[in-house]
Symmetry: C2
Subunit: 473 residues, 2 copies
């Protein structure tokens, strides 16, 4: 650091010391981490190429009162607070800001109630998605949203990002399962939103305002979640297509015929080849797209056969329906291996562009063109039934030129999504990674409205500032 | 009016003239109604006992630009604007305010698009719910939310109130079907929210902030709605119970067993007797509750029989499963006649309290106690599967004492709902009718947050002011 910079660094250090001292004055010592090396471990989530700052302190909150105390200290000192779950996010939303308090909610991990008559769960934010699923299963119930990170990610993080998953095509996303929230506001006040009833329209839908807000409006400290009866085991069909146009036709005709698959996943040629290379699965090398369709109805065979016929009519060169759940699981292995297989080829940036289902083939073709134009490998996995594509940009992070091209391709893919009437993020969120593109998606009036809502709830701009969008005027 | 009041009345008249003149300067003459007698016809919705003011003018808007012009005039003159659909609401949310501009959206009634691959409809706010249903049916699709007024109410009104209906127990409420909105803001700017993709988490969920906001945050001028495959015809079971405890047990055990009925309606003794009196349906007079349960699965007979057994085990003294759709329709006639039958007994105030499903029997018992305590007849219909009860308070509107007791009973029923962990409104909204009770449900921090959001979007407080909650400090 230059000499001119030294006073600032000293000032920063003194400020960090003050933050730690004030936190320690109100919180148990065990909850406040000040050691810079330990704190650094909390600096970022799993997004590639997203900058992260150095926190002044990490608080491992154990209860609501501690969260309120943190926000009161932050308000007094005007220090940014970055709420954090398991840091499995893919957009940098949980990344530290220089001098901030990282507020980790992972220790608040109690499932407070599961009620099978009301079909609700009441949980703390640090509950791991898989733990809730297991607990619900004991009552014959399920909490459907199932992001890939479900075995480690937290419900609080799921709420913050508005997480999706594979089963959303039939059962919906996180937002649809959040009935009510307890939220600590910027000034430390506790807000209760929503309800535990199946229906309710009492006042503004503040609950959903906090879902997907990435901790910029408040800190979720408790959630009442809707559960539903556990689905039956699904039967899976695999179809291979020689062209993107054909798989696009198949997806469209399956939906148009009124089917409601419980899963509908697509892998492009690049992804299929990568999986073959890694796992020797013997998938046809000439495939342009592999489509997996699952049904979890009581007797899915006839309907799955009808879907198979629609695939064939659309141009599938191979259609295989699983005989049983074992074979179904095998079919799904290919999908599960997609990301690990692509990660063997280089550093991966996972994009998350959703387009109207009818534009799926256009999206695949456009991504292929971008891959060529930017001389960057891109493999596509997609929740095809939702039009939610994950183009995965693969590059050599040690090569500055390749990294630059990868970034540019990543941006171009989002721009393509917008052109096709889609959105820059279907389920991963904005964070810092997509902040500039979000401004483009929202437009001036949209951005102005976001800033007005933010200012109304966080007038000092201390809640995860600079995430989702840049602070306004 | 006293002499002291006269100058105010003159001032009001002059102000009204100015509003009309400014509207006529920017809008086609055919869209501006200034005649007080004609305007008076737009003064209120269908809520009993809700005051309504005298509008300065009614604008029958034909397009988005006209709506924007109205809001610009209103901003310039600081005149309140009351957005309005078909005025079938039950909470006074669409009632005029003295000197306001009533902004009727019923002429904006085009269905702009139905896309069976994307499973979306794009509509103007004045489209009648039933017209959208019919149009969707031509593609084998359905728009599920089905308030009782579905044959006349508008989609804009449904969005404003967050309307529900009978099929919500399986298919969800209006909020779950609104993907994106075009909203004219208080200052006349046009905001686009949401998306037309199945999934999307780009920025705050502003879409759902406008759903159920009763026109206090903006004027919805276009909506992108999710559709789903049309359900199969349902088969209905009717069960008669001798006690509220028994019907409560039945509802709980049906849900606990994992069934997902497409309809689950309850009528109490008062309602059953009223229907018998009107339609001579021969329902057992000794019934304490009639429960109707419908399934729309491909082969519902076995599951319906299992539900019948659960009803019997819970204490039903009569269980009858329909043989076919004709008999099913007959069973549902009793439910359809409930309100008309109760209306023969006096003026009806329809309450709308949702409680956790597990507290349904407590709610029914509490309402019966309130009926006795306030010496006021109350019949209860309920969307039992949602815990959403409609206690209907019946009184002689010509009798001031009876009217006062009815009002008090109506309030007491809401207070009971809150005590049982419920909400004062499951699907009808707040308007002016439940404004004071809403403040109680929200609490101080909830109300403060509502006011902050309102001020952020409508700083001059011109959008349906005083609805949902009183303006703050």
């Amino acid at each position: 650091m230059s000499e001119a910079g030294a006073p600032t660094a000293e000032h920063d250090a003194a400020r960090a010391d003050r933050v730690v001292a004030e936190l320690r004055a109100v919180l148990p010592a065990r909850t406040v981490v000040a050691d810079p090396d330990v704190a650094a471990a909390y600096a970022h989530d799993m997004a590639a190429l997203c900058a992260a700052g150095r926190p002044a302190a990490v608080v491992l909150a154990e209860d609501v009162d501690q969260v309120r105390d943190v926000m009161r200290v932050a308000t007094r000192l005007r220090v940014p607070v970055v709420p954090q779950g398991a840091r499995t996010g893919l957009s940098g939303a949980a990344n530290a800001i220089d001098g901030c308090i990282v507020l980790s909610l992972t220790r608040m991990d109690r499932i407070l109630e599961i009620n099978p008559v009301d079909r609700v769960a009441v949980v703390e934010p640090g509950v791991v998605n898989a733990d809730l699923s297991k607990a619900a299963a004991e009552f014959g119930l399920a909490y459907p949203p199932d992001p890939s990170s479900w075995e480690t990610c937290t419900i609080g993080g799921n709420i913050g990002t508005g997480a999706g998953g594979l089963c959303c095509v039939k059962y919906g996303v996180t937002a649809e399962y959040v009935l009510g929230l307890d939220v600590v506001l910027a000034d430390g006040e506790l807000l209760r939103t929503g309800r535990r009833t199946a229906k309710g329209v009492a006042g503004y839908d503040l609950t959903r305002l906090f879902v997907g807000a990435e901790g910029t409006l408040g800190v979720v400290v408790r959630a009442t979640l809707a559960l539903r009866p556990a689905p039956l085991p699904a039967l899976v069909l695999a179809a291979q297509f020689g062209s993107t146009a054909a798989v696009g036709r198949a997806v469209a005709s399956i939906i148009e015929a009124g089917h409601v698959p419980s899963l509908m996943e697509l892998m492009d040629a690049t992804t299929v080849r990568a999986v073959n290379d890694m796992a020797k699965m013997g998938l046809p090398e000439e495939t342009a797209a592999l489509l997996l369709v699952a049904l979890d109805t009581p007797d899915p065979r006839a309907e799955l056969a009808a879907i198979g016929e629609l695939c064939a009519a659309a141009g599938a060169f191979e259609v295989l329906a699983a005989e049983d759940s074992e074979q179904s699981a095998m079919f799904l292995t290919a999908r599960r291996l997609a990301l690990p297989a692509l990660e063997r080829l280089g550093t991966c940036m996972i994009d998350d562009v959703a387009v109207p289902r009818s534009r799926l083939a256009d999206m695949l073709d456009g991504v292929a063109e971008i891959s060529t134009a930017y001389d960057t490998a891109v493999g596509v996995c997609a929740h095809a039934g939702d039009g939610n594509t994950h183009p995965i940009v693969i590059f050599d992070a040690a090569d500055a030129g390749a990294t630059e091209r990868a970034r540019a391709a990543f941006e171009a893919i989002m721009a393509l999504g917008l052109e096709l009437g889609g959105t820059i993020t279907g389920e991963h969120g904005v964070g810092t990674l997509k902040r500039d593109m979000l401004a483009r998606e929202l437009g001036d009036i949209g951005l102005r409205t976001h800033r007005a809502v933010k200012a109304a709830l966080d007038p000092l701009n201390i809640l995860n500032p600079g995430k989702v969008f840049e602070p306004g005027r």
